[in-house]
Amino acid sequence: MTAPGNPHGPGRPIRPFRLLAKTLILFVLANLGFATANPSGLGRISAYNLLVPGRERFPFGENSGQFYNLSLYDVDAMFASHVLSAGSKPADQYRVLILGDSSVWGLLLKPEDTVAGLLNTDHLAVCGKPARFYNLGYPTISLVKDLMILDQAADYQPDLILWFTTLQAFPLSTQLASPVVANNAPRVRDLIARYHLGLDPNNPAFPPESFWSQTIIGRRRDLADLVRLQLYGVMWAATGVDQVYPASFTPAQRDFEPDASFNGSSGPTLQPSQLAFGVLAAGQLAAGKVPILLVNEPILMSSGKNSDIRYNLFYPRWAYDQYRLMLSQFAKQIGWPYLDVWDTVPASEFTNSPIHLTVQGESILAEEVSEAIHSQPCS
């Protein structure tokens, strides 16, 4: 039987089941081919900085429909969507990259109200060049996450790196718990091997990998996220919105139980062997000759119930005080300039967490950072 309108010719019968079988075979082959080729650079293909402006901070968020942002694990795509990837570095630019957690990324803050945004607004000149600050913070607390970002960011020719950190980023036991770390197992294993981080490359936090997980079907979520990230670029360009700014929020806790524990320990000694100073030190290798200014970020100092035991929900006093001492000694040992601004922001300028600041709080911080940068020698 001949189907009319058959494009293959009037004599060629169309066999639907054969057509279906061929389609299925092609689909299977495409999946196998994709898994075999394992294309790792897909995330670098981006509409950002080409069709739409790059984002001022990494993509992050869960409620995508409301604020045109999403969390994804593809570090290449995160960088490709960032304004840092917009062309090559201008010759007269003093480029400063800021690493850190959600306080640097700026939860509840507009991009221009973060520490990077405020420093850019000040139009600082450093070492005779106009300074441009790039927000490379990401809202999970882990030094391995920071190192992973620094490792890639070093390719962007920074002149200075500001590494904001806090004690919560140090426990070895939680280094790989951040989803963006756990879902970048090959990248993190490479860091562990290259920098001898002393972490378990087979940590159960890494999801098991299989050939199936590398197929189009297995990576459908990642691929869909890449497409959605590009589409949300249109909305980012159109609105400048990248997170929800609620009219009200639950303020950070000020009153506490009489609990002196930190990371499962009640003290009185903070064990350096349980902290990831090795990861911090690896930052020096990752940064190469680029100077790193280490910043111990501001924390909420509560005056509420049991505040003689705890500074805030995160930190008992005994642990945090020892940590500050260790961090300053570490900076001295490794030769990094160090800025300890832990108590510079009043308690009234914290928002929903012991490390999240109001715009006023960010301004205080930005002033401190600005002074510290200007006090650095020019190389």
Binding site: A3, P4, I14, L231, M235, A238, T239, G240, V241
Partner: protein, 475 residues
């Protein structure tokens, strides 16, 4: 409809259309559609309502048939079989309440069985009585039409919807302060109501063919077109039902092509565009005129691809069952004037309004003793028709404004065409000039329609006005 519902529906359609003998085909279509009415119904916060609304759909369909069928045809045995299938399936689905499983084919656990049994018994008794009744049923038809329109108005009017939801909540003992319009999401009611009203009007005018209960209910709730149309005509539908279009190799390919195209349009293109399409939130956030146009264009293509994608899926699934559903879209954004656009956008709905409102109204106005100028007739009939089409989508100021926008557009285009037909014909003798006019016409029409979507997509006139100002670059 979700992707899995479409794929399973397609498989069921194929099985019903190809594997079953012709005699049982209508009953299988009926049973599949009855089950689909429950399966497609979204879960609702009002206790038991996501079960009772499908029951109401089926009950209305049965009474719709009773009031439209000739008295002589009511008692035929085949109608008892159809009634038994519909009512039996309701009872069976009600009994799934007692299975210790997740809800099967219902959005949530069915309500207590006793009221279901009571309602089914009541419908059965009414069915028995009415099949024996020898009275004419025009009063019943008017009553049912009024009931359908009343429910339609409640569902489409936010304030009434909230009030109705609060009423139901009071009955079920749920908090009335949480009442919302979305509590009353009645799957496919707009389409079901318009199909039934079409049969009522045709019955009153003597044009309705004699159909069995199975054919009538299947027509009203035919599952491929249940959620998003098209609104077929019953005389055309039952022709296919009685003499299905042979599937054959060409049919396979045509059905497959429509299904794949529809799913690609809906789940790839439309769902992607939905992320950047105009809505009540981003309309207030957009920072420049250029980006505002991008959002508006995205909405224009998203709504087209979403709706026409569903139509493609419905036509593809229908084709697998041997039913050739009517087309709903014919490249509407490539039309060079607004009248042509409305001849190719949601064609089955515009055809419905043309048949049951526009044409009768125009005839009535023309046949008045006191002659009305042609321009006035065109104005009144086009504005009122488009207003009604706007209200069909929802009873709100913005839908009224959207209807007015198109009504005025159609009127102006009609008058403009009358005025300029001769000079334009004289000017556009060469092919390049005709092409030029065609391209200009397409661009103007598309942008007129796209601007109209601002009324459709946004919830309030003030927001729409602010957005239109943004489009014009006015801060």
């Amino acid at each position: 409809m979700t992707l899995s519902q479409i794929l399973i529906g397609g498989a069921v359609a194929l099985a019903c259309g190809t594997l079953l003998p012709p005699r049982s085909r209508v009953y299988s279509f009926l049973a599949a559609s009855v089950l689909a009415v429950f399966w497609f119904q979204p879960a609702l916060p009002l206790r038991g309502l996501d079960f009772w609304l499908p029951v109401a759909t089926l009950t209305l369909s049965i009474f719709g048939w009773l009031f439209t069928v000739p008295v002589s045809s009511r008692r035929e045995a085949q109608n008892w079989v159809a009634a038994a299938i519909v009512l039996g399936l309701i009872l069976l689905l009600g009994l799934t309440r007692y299975l210790n499983l997740e809800p099967i084919l219902t959005a949530s656990r069915p309500p207590q069985f006793e009221p279901i049994l009571g309602l089914v018994a009541a419908v059965g008794v009414a069915f028995f009585s009415l099949t024996r009744s020898r009275g004419k049923s025009f009063a019943g038809l008017w009553l049912l039409t009024a009931a359908l329109l009343a429910v339609f108005v409640v569902l489409k009017t936010p304030a009434l919807g909230i009030a109705a939801s609060a009423g139901v909540r009071a009955v079920t003992g749920q908090p009335t302060n949480l009442a919302a319009v979305s509590d009353l999401q009645w799957l496919g009611f707009s389409y079901i109501a318009f199909r039934m009203i079409h049969t009522f009007r045709d019955r009153q005018s003597g044009r309705l063919p004699d159909v069995s209960l199975a054919e009538y209910v299947t027509y009203v709730i035919f599952f491929p077109s249940l959620t998003a149309g098209p609104i077929d005509r019953i005389e055309r539908f039952i022709q296919d039902l009685r003499h299905p279009v042979a599937l054959g190799q060409e049919g396979w390919l045509a059905a497959g092509r429509r299904l794949v195209t529809g799913m690609f349009k809906k789940f790839v293109l439309a769902d992607s565009l939905a992320l950047i399409a105009l809505n009540g939130t981003n309309a207030t956030q957009v920072r420049s005129a250029g980006w505002a146009w991008v959002l508006l264009y995205a909405y224009a293509f998203q709504i087209y691809l979403d709706f026409s994608g569903y139509t493609d899926i419905a036509i593809g699934v229908g084709r697998l069952m041997g039913i050739q559903l009517p087309e709903n879209f014919n490249a509407p954004y490539l039309k060079s004037n607004l009248a042509l656009f409305w001849n190719s956008w949601h064609m089955s709905l515009t055809q419905w309004f043309r048949s049951y409102f526009f044409n009768p109204l125009t005839r009535a106005l023309r046949s008045r003793k006191n002659a009305i100028p042609v321009g006035a007739i065109v104005f009144v009939s086009q504005i009122s028709t488009m207003l009604l089409i706007g209200l069909w989508h929802g009873i709100s100021t913005n839908f009224v404004l959207w209807g007015l926008w198109h009504g005025i557009g159609l009127f102006l285009q009609n008058r403009w065409s009358e005025l300029t037909r001769r000079p334009i014909s004289a000017w556009a003798r060469s092919s390049p000039r005709r092409t030029f006019l065609e391209v200009i016409g397409v661009l103007v029409t598309f942008h007129y329609v796209a601007l109209g979507w601002a009324f459709f997509a946004l919830p309030t006139p003030s927001l729409t006005l602010a957005f239109l100002r943004r489009l014009a670059g006015v801060p």
